[in-house]
């Protein structure tokens, strides 16, 4: 299989790789670059565990070809904490007991981040809608929804 060069920004740092054409972004991030925060739950676009943010949009990295990400700005959960300080969403997921096995957590946090970036004061329905593509088999959705609402409040207090 032909190798193609790919260059993008991952959590603020430049990455340049030669990857096999047809490689998913999920595999490129996990196996080539070593960011294992996006998880592979289904590899077919139904569980949301692999969710990342590409140019501000929520994307399933298992359905995104790495070679289409040239020049993109990619964010994953691994890059969310700044200077060792947890992002309000991470803090809220911790405090609200919104993680059990933790496998869905990075994807959930990415989906929640896109929501809060666009809708700083979401309603409960907004949160449910935003997380509807992410499956959790252990925690139960209620603590996760609560965590996102708590993070939204923390955000708006910071802004005020």
């Amino acid at each position: 299989m032909a190798k193609v060069p790919v260059q993008f920004t991952l959590n603020g740092s430049e990455k340049a790789e030669f990857i096999e054409s047809g490689t998913t972004l999920l595999h490129a991030l996990r196996d080539k670059i070593g960011d294992t925060s996006p998880k592979g739950g289904c590899h077919q676009g139904t569980c949301g565990a692999c969710s990342v943010i590409i140019d501000g949009e929520l994307r399933l990295s298992c359905l995104t070809l790495a070679e289409t990400c040239n020049g993109a700005d990619i964010k994953t959960t691994a890059g969310l904490a700044e200077g060792g300080v947890l992002h309000p969403l991470q803090r809220a997921f911790l405090d609200a007991f919104a993680t059990q096995c933790g496998f869905c957590t990075p994807g959930m946090i990415m989906a929640a981040k896109v929501l809060l970036d666009r809708t700083p004061n979401p309603s409960r329905d907004d949160v449910v809608e935003a997380l509807s593509g992410n499956i959790c088999r252990c925690t139960g959705y209620e603590p996760i929804i609560q965590a996102v609402l708590v993070a939204a409040r923390a955000n708006s207090q910071n802004a005020a």
Partner: protein, 455 residues
């Protein structure tokens, strides 16, 4: 959290340091930062990928296996069949003396369920392993199969598993687990009403978000590290040691991080063959179920059939209970003999019944082997028992919650297993449930207590 300290006030201990105190979970910081290391987050240079060739038939004799085309496929490093496995026939619970060994790591001469592992292919990439697996030729002679427990127990039914010799598990108590207490027929003779109902359940898949798998790395010195998401570390270590005929000191298991399991990761299926692959190739090996495999191959909760016959008095007392339970183990035992046995212990329910008769069977069929899942053996029992309780209450025109107060275990009551009840709290739980659900019961039930002085 609200602690109700008014219950058992004279016997409770309040010098507790942990109960009632919030404690942060140690692993959560790793989860929210994406740093928690699941087994598949380990990647080793030169890692091979293992894919299984699986039986397309429910029951068949394997006449021959031809791996020559697969071996020639670009990227293939090694192909494994039954003869490569040092101790190919095993059973998980042999460690606690539950035998006989009845399951093959790789099929040897016969397949007993659709999806059974026949040949393992190790290749440089997942794709090469997949393509090569498709080139393995297996010649099957299809045999009659049985999918229904009642059919399986009939004389002349196809024999599912030769290691048992009949289509049910032979306990030391005979063809089923039994509980006998009082005189059940005398109980029925005395009852005002008798209700017999049967209940049935389908297999249920756990569907963990992280699929089952492991990554094995040779350490040199003939020692292997196995990163796995098993829920049963020591079962896995010891069974791998038996299957591979290697001392446990050569096997280093790293686990503890499980991306959802619910009992589905208790069986020992992926680790031994992946370690064998690493041993025979000298390279790291990854064996991870695809989502399709997870849904089709991993053991579900067993299908069950339960027949309950109860004798009840007009005043609400249950005076006799007769239960026959059937657990569909599928083609192999795994944890099912234990599940069926748990059912036998559970069918009296948390109720004081003077006459009890219980038989539970662990039955073999040509279905996917079932195994552990959250309270297996008792969860479906509870569903059946509590539906039956509601029906009994309706039959005698009594409130279903009040009916349960009348029959609940209380301290000092003799259980059907001949253990006196101690430390019961069912009455108190039901009192709280009645308040929480806004389902009032008569004052005399609110005045009851499980605790009896001197009991």
């Amino acid at each position: 959290m609200e602690l109700r300290k008014d219950y058992f006030a004279d016997v409770r201990k309040d010098g507790l340091n942990e109960i009632g105190q919030p404690r942060p979970r140690l692993d959560s910081p790793g989860h929210v930062t994406g740093k928690t290391a699941y087994f598949a987050d380990r990647n080793f240079p030169g890692m091979l990928h293992l894919k299984m060739v699986r039986s397309p038939h429910h029951h068949a004799r394997v006449r021959s296996i031809d791996t020559s085309e697969a071996e020639k496929h670009p990227g293939v490093v090694r192909v494994l069949t039954a003869k490569d496995v040092p101790h190919n026939v095993y059973t998980i619970l042999i460690l606690i003396q539950v035998g006989p060994e009845d399951e093959t790591v790789l099929a040897d001469g016969k397949v007993r369920w659709k999806g059974e592992a026949v040949v393992a292919v190790l290749a440089e990439t997942e794709r090469a392993a997949q393509e090569a697996a498709a080139k393995v030729k297996v010649d099957y002679e299809v045999l009659p199969a049985v999918f229904d427990m009642e059919e399986a127990l009939k004389p002349g039914a196809p024999l599912v598993n030769e290691y048992h010799g009949q289509n049910y598990y032979l306990y030391d108590s005979g063809e089923c687990r039994k509980v006998r207490f009082g005189d059940v027929e005398a109980g029925f003779a005395q009852a005002d009403h008798i209700l017999e109902q049967s209940y049935q359940s389908s297999p249920i898949e756990h569907a963990p978000t992280e699929t089952t798998g492991c990554v094995v790395a040779p350490e040199g010195n003939d020692r292997f590290t196995c990163y796995t998401n098993t829920q049963a570390m020591f079962f896995t270590l010891d069974n791998a040691s038996i299957i591979l005929q290697m001392p446990g000191s050569k096997l280093h298991f790293v686990g503890g991080t499980v991306g959802g399991g619910f009992g589905g990761k208790v069986d020992v299926i992926v680790e031994p063959i992946a370690i064998l692959g690493a041993k025979l190739t000298g390279r790291p090996v990854s064996f991870v179920y695809s989502r399709e495999e997870e849904m089709q191959i991993s053991s579900p909760r067993a299908a069950e059939k339960i027949v309950i016959k109860d004798g009840v008095m007009k005043d609400g007392r249950i005076v006799a209970r007769k239960v026959t339970g059937y657990t569909d183990a599928g083609a192999y035992s795994r944890h099912s003999p234990y599940g069926a046995q748990k059912g036998a212990a559970h069918y009296p329910g948390p109720y004081t019944i003077p006459n009890v008769w219980i038989d539970t069977y662990c039955v073999y069929t040509n279905r996917t082997p079932s195994s552990a899942m959250r309270g297996f053996g008792v969860t479906i029992s509870d569903f059946a028992l509590e539906v039956q309780m509601d029906k009994l209450a309706r039959l005698i025109g009594m409130d279903p919650l009040e009916f349960r107060f009348i029959n609940a275990y209380r301290d000092g009551d003799m259980k059907a297993h001949r253990q006196p009840t101690e430390g019961a709290a069912l009455i108190e739980c039901m009192q709280e449930a009645s308040r929480a659900a806004n389902w009032p019961v008569a004052e005399k039930y609110m005045a009851m207590s499980s605790y009896r002085k001197g009991a």
